[in-house]
Amino acid sequence: MKVKEKEKKENIPLTCGAVITQPGSTKKYKTGEWRTFIPIIDQEKCIKCGKCWMNCPDGAIFKTPEGKFMINYAYCKGCLICEKVCPVKAISHKVEEK
């Protein structure tokens, strides 16, 4: 596919002065694609301390209404900081398979 066509297809909407009117719109872009390692939380081991949530640079960990900490794999880049900071080693990792 030619970039030129692609460019035309993309047809980026232009705002005046290149203002972005949609806050937080990078959410459209799934950085989970970048991952080479995938972290996995062992909910059994987890003590719900929230440290993984605190330390994730990508805001890819969230707390469920039930109080569980889970990983949003759409954004998790697999840095494995969460694994390192977990005080009870509830997080482990594997090589990503896509």
Partner: protein, 178 residues
């Protein structure tokens, strides 16, 4: 003129691959030109780079819209290949080509470069080793030229250079066998 596309992840060295290929083909007596896709990509994001190879001087400066060959350094990136490829797609993968689901008119070959790299280099450095596969499967560049190119580009890195050269050879042999 042949156009080669490398597709990898930021940090994986796709840019270096294209550079080394350009150096090597020049050592083979051809003209070459390598350049990255000009982006702001960070480690982990998909990154493209290109190499042009020709018998005569290359003056063309447009970007690569259509490649003769594509080399995908990371099997997870297969879906990111949107460019048209006319001859051959080489994928670093331990799978079979048909398992990858690539829709293309080009041939697709898989070489498990990561395993070889891990074995020979001890680290998953696939970007240079991949050129061995390219050499084996296309004949566009000689293995000796690649060796020399690595030395020119990474000259000061000692054992790593040696290991990469070994890895290239092994990947080459491996790909030849395919």
């Amino acid at each position: 003129m042949k156009q080669v596309l490398f597709l990898g992840r930021g940090g994986q060295g796709a840019v270096t691959s294209a550079q080394i290929l350009a150096i090597a083909t020049f050592k083979d007596g051809k003209y070459s030109q390598a350049f990255p896709n000009f982006g702001v990509e960070r480690m982990g994001a998909p990154v493209r780079s290109y190499c042009r190879i020709d018998e005569k001087e290359i003056t063309l400066r447009e970007q690569v819209y259509e490649a003769n060959y594509a080399i995908i350094l990371d099997p997870t990136l297969v879906k990111q290949l949107t460019e048209k490829v006319t001859e051959l797609i080489i994928v670093n993968s331990n799978k079979k080509p048909e398992e990858l689901g690539i829709v293309t008119d080009a041939k697709v070959k898989c070489v498990d470069i990561t395993s070889i790299a891990l074995k020979v280099i001890g680290k998953p450095f696939v970007n240079i080793a991949a050129i061995g596969a390219f050499s084996a499967l296309t004949g566009e560049v000689s293995i000796n030229a690649i060796d020399e190119a690595i030395k020119q580009q990474m000259g000061h890195k000692g054992t790593l250079v040696e290991k990469n050269i070994l890895a290239i050879k092994e990947v080459y042999e491996n790909a030849k066998r395919e």
